[in-house]
């Protein structure tokens, strides 16, 4: 904040609030409208947190810095106005904005310019500490064990939704009730590279079923993806071969110092179209860098992999009449190459 000249940081996004406050919050699904979820004052280091109670709130945040749930914008305005130095700070950074907050923030901080906090937050969050890596490893372990239960339930007649239910039950039985995503199983289409159907169709013998397994534990997301064939039969050899070639190239591209564009190039050199989802995205408290997608080639070229980054690396190959092989591996970038954070890493 000092380097950026930011006096007060106001964050609304869940990942940023988790990072700044260190407090686990009640899990809800979907995006929330921007509001002052957590406030950090640079001069004092004080954190003010939206929480009606102190359960789970770190000791460093005293009771007087907690403010409660409110449906009244004026209440939040008063909370912000009461923050030390509110009337004199010069630079206030937020991670997003809404029409009402765009009106409220200048009233709370009348002398301040309103600036973008995201570049700084992304920078501090993108490289993980060893403790954070262990937290992610713990989340991945629960996701992996819960995925194993869903894979055991994969048989002709079961639906995507039922497989999701099996995953959720297994996850909760392990004491974790918060998934990262809720679209766990999908029958890959034989007719179209990305088509999804109703989620109520039963899987058939020979279907390639893709699984996306992710849990949030202690605020940290751990995710992995696997594809399994229904029934006791081999996967189409040419698709398997294409998968291996792509996956080898992707793993080789995961080197500290490498340009993130090399992950997109891995698809090109393997002769595989890039998928609609990001080829790599950071794992952590929510939305973390790197983000590598064909939709943002400029961003891919700007970013470099750094030791300590944790990313979900995604491979996807498809063949007409067969279906798709999808794989996602949580990867820690190290100086000695990529390290898979799952117990049984995806084979190539």
């Amino acid at each position: 904040m000092e380097a950026e000249g930011i006096d007060v940081l106001v964050v609304g996004r869940e990942g940023n609030a988790r990072y700044v406050s260190g407090a686990p919050r009640l899990w809800t699904a979907g995006s929330h409208p921007f509001g002052p979820g957590c406030v950090l004052v640079r001069s004092s280091g004080a954190v003010h947190l939206l929480s009606t109670w102190d359960e789970g709130v770190p000791d460093e945040i005293p009771h007087e810095n907690l403010y409660g749930i409110s449906f009244n914008r004026m209440t939040f305005l008063k909370v912000l106005q009461n923050i030390e130095g509110a009337d004199s700070v010069r630079t206030v950074a937020t991670d997003a904005l809404s029409p009402s907050s765009a009106l409220m923030l200048p009233k709370a901080f009348p002398s301040a310019d309103l600036v973008d906090a995201e570049p700084m937050l992304r920078r501090v969050r993108r490289v993980k500490t060893p403790d954070e890596v262990e937290a992610i490893r713990g989340s991945v372990a629960v996701a992996e064990q819960s995925l194993a239960a869903a894979l055991r339930a994969l048989a002709p007649g079961v639906t995507e939704r039922q497989l999701t239910g099996v995953f959720m039950e297994a996850m909760s039985t392990r004491g974790v009730t918060t998934p990262t995503g809720q679209d766990v199983a999908s029958i890959t289409s034989r007719e179209h590279p990305w088509h999804r159907t109703s989620r109520d169709e039963p899987v058939r013998d020979g279907d390639l079923v893709a699984f996306e397994a992710g849990v949030v534990l202690g605020g940290y997301a751990g995710e992995l993806g696997r594809t399994s064939i229904v029934g006791d039969r081999p996967v189409d050899p040419s698709l398997s071969k294409q998968w291996s070639e792509l996956w080898d190239r992707l793993l080789s591209a995961c080197q500290a110092g490498a340009s993130c564009a090399s992950l997109l190039e891995a698809y090109d050199t393997a002769g595989v179209p890039t998928p609609p989802m990001p080829v790599a995205r950071g794992l952590g408290l929510g939305f973390d860098l790197p983000l590598v997608t064909h939709a943002l080639p400029g961003l891919a070229a700007e970013q470099h992999l750094e030791a300590g980054m944790v990313l979900a690396l995604t491979g996807y190959v498809w063949k007409e009449g067969v279906g798709a092989l999808f794989g996602q591996e949580p990867i820690l970038v190290t100086h000695s190459g990529p390290e898979a954070l799952s117990t049984v890493p995806y084979r190539s």
Partner: protein
Amino acid sequence: MTPAGLMASVTPTRIPEVADARRMQQDRLTRIRGLMRAQGVDALVLLGNTNVVYATGAIWPLADSGRANFEQPVAVVLADDESPHLFSPVREDDRLRTELPLDHLHGPVYLDFDEGVEAFSTRLGGLVGSGAVIAMDEWTHALRREHSVLFVGGTPVDGGPMISRAKAVKTPDELALMRQGLRITERAISDVQAQLAPGVRQTDLTATFLRTIFESGADANILDPIWQVMPARIADGPWTTTGDLACPLSSTERQLVEGDVIWVDTGISFGGFHSDFGRTWVVGRDPDAAQRAQFERWRSIMDAVLDVTRAGATAADLTGAAIEAAGGVKPWMPHFYLGHGLGIDSAEMPYVGSDIGEAFDASLVLADGMVLVLEPIVWEDGAAGYRSEEVLLITEDGWEPMTDYPYDPF
């Protein structure tokens, strides 16, 4: 005898069994575009997940809120086009594209990055004329830096209230979907309640709940289910900013013991709608006389509120009835409300008895077709308390129940 749910006394007649998705979406767009024209808005850009669901009818399983903002579908409603545009991560998903023409479906946009905003504004510029008046529900700083289409002459019009207004009154098709979502929730809760016993962990109850909702057709869970063990006294619970109860608290691997008083609060997503459910249970034994008396007081408060609930009543009529029946105190938690709307969001307008204040409650008039969740509580410090929720459709004559779950074990 166990008192049955609300439908034992009132049979719903207004809620159809089947929804017509195409008609539902046409009705929504008619409302939204009417509000846009009234405010002179040419294009409405929506980022909030639930606003996008309302405007486009797109259904996807909502993700952890930590990552929701970068895999977010974006909707654009044009005043002169009856179909909205949807920018979404997975274009070829039958559930996403149900009612949208193919040329209104676009690939993902990443509005947190200038490069993503540039691609989006190029697309948007092709849809709207120069000088178009744009409304938005929220924005990123990258969007704020865009000055060719979006932030041309200052701040965009606030688009959130348009959706909030449009969605408050439900159409019959919407009610049919809501009823299905509430039924799925009740089915799962019934499985959970059968499992309730000393030694069971809170997370075991969640395991059963989550498995059953997905097996029964839910699109997503929307809230880490609450099975809160209530302390006998407020002072035995966590410190709060209000000095009142701390609720809802996240579930853990805590094992339930005989006699625990459990406050249940859950909700799921189905057909784009959120459900809500609340009950009080006692673990491993029948409620004692004091607990039954709390339940009877809760029933009398609920009955008093239901007596005045109808289209044309104000929120203040409902809070007044509740306070009178409770002997002069507000029978709800001060950080929440006596009641709230339910629909595309798990809590939406109308808010009844919130901290927006009494003047707001006096001005808020209930309308035919609104769906209201009433959640009064009875608290007896030293002996815990009772809380349940009922979901109602507001009608000209009064109300109809949307759920029929019994109050067992009370």
